[in-house]
């Protein structure tokens, strides 16, 4: 009985340990703050590409239905 209780406590401790994380501290975020770590590192370039795709492939409805894919809007 006692052995079961100890085993259960150890299991609980192990499960508790599995939840442990080491959070990134505010002073350790240098790499995360780099521009190439951003989801969209170059918003201007992305906007231009998106506009071209929107104009040329609008008929396929990729970025919302607009235009006929003639590239004129």
């Amino acid at each position: 009985m006692r052995r079961d209780r100890v085993a259960l406590l150890l299991l609980l401790a192990f499960l508790l340990g599995a939840c442990a994380t080491t959070p990134v501290q505010p002073w350790e975020r240098g790499r995360l703050a780099r521009w190439d770590m951003r989801f969209d590192p170059d918003p201007l370039k992305s906007a231009l590409k998106e506009h071209t795709r929107f104009s040329k492939e609008g008929s396929s409805g990729r970025a919302g239905a607009a235009g006929g894919g003639c590239g004129c809007n």
Binding site: V6, L9, L16, P26, W27, E28, G30
Partner: protein, 164 residues
């Protein structure tokens, strides 16, 4: 007994040391990145000191450091001093940043040990220490409008307390 031990293990990560308001700050020594001179917080006992944690990758720090430099010039050096701790991984990044801003107060590059001891809760974070060497307040983040409140706080501390 086992339960107590488990509880203790669980509590250890939450018992990290930090610089808290009303307490004596952790020791702070280093070398000024710009002049190469030794910097020691204990040597400034009797002055009001602002300890600021910053980094070159921190956007608000671009605004805070020049304003801190101006704030420092508003008070006699015997009353007020600023120590800025750069937490950049590479000291060269901090030095490149300092070429863009005119800052005359001591800048210490941190290897991580100082930040771990002080535990700044955000970037930038600053700690205002009174003449008696106690942390009076902690500021997290920075907006240019914050400098007026900080100036008042520094003035109050300078006028209210005198070196023993």
């Amino acid at each position: 007994m086992i339960l107590r031990a488990l509880l203790l293990c669980w509590c250890i990560p939450f018992a990290a040391n930090a610089a808290n308001v009303g307490q004596t700050p952790p020791a702070l020594t280093g070398m000024d990145l710009q002049s190469g001179q030794a910097v020691d917080l204990d040597a400034l006992h009797g002055r009001v000191v602002l300890v600021d944690f910053w980094a070159s990758w921190c956007a608000p720090c671009l605004k805070s450091l020049p304003l801190y430099a101006r704030l420092r010039d508003e008070f006699p050096r015997a009353d007020f001093e600023i120590i800025a701790i750069s937490v950049d991984e590479d000291a060269a990044d901090a030095q490149a940043f300092l070429k863009r801003v005119d800052v005359q107060f001591p800048i210490v590059h941190d290897d991580g040990s100082r930040a771990s001891a002080w535990s700044p809760p955000g970037m930038p974070s600053s700690f205002l220490i009174d003449r008696q060497g106690l942390i009076k307040s902690r500021h997290i983040g920075f907006k240019p409008g914050d400098i007026d409140a900080l100036r008042d706080e520094v003035r109050t501390l300078i006028e209210a307390s005198h070196a023993p």
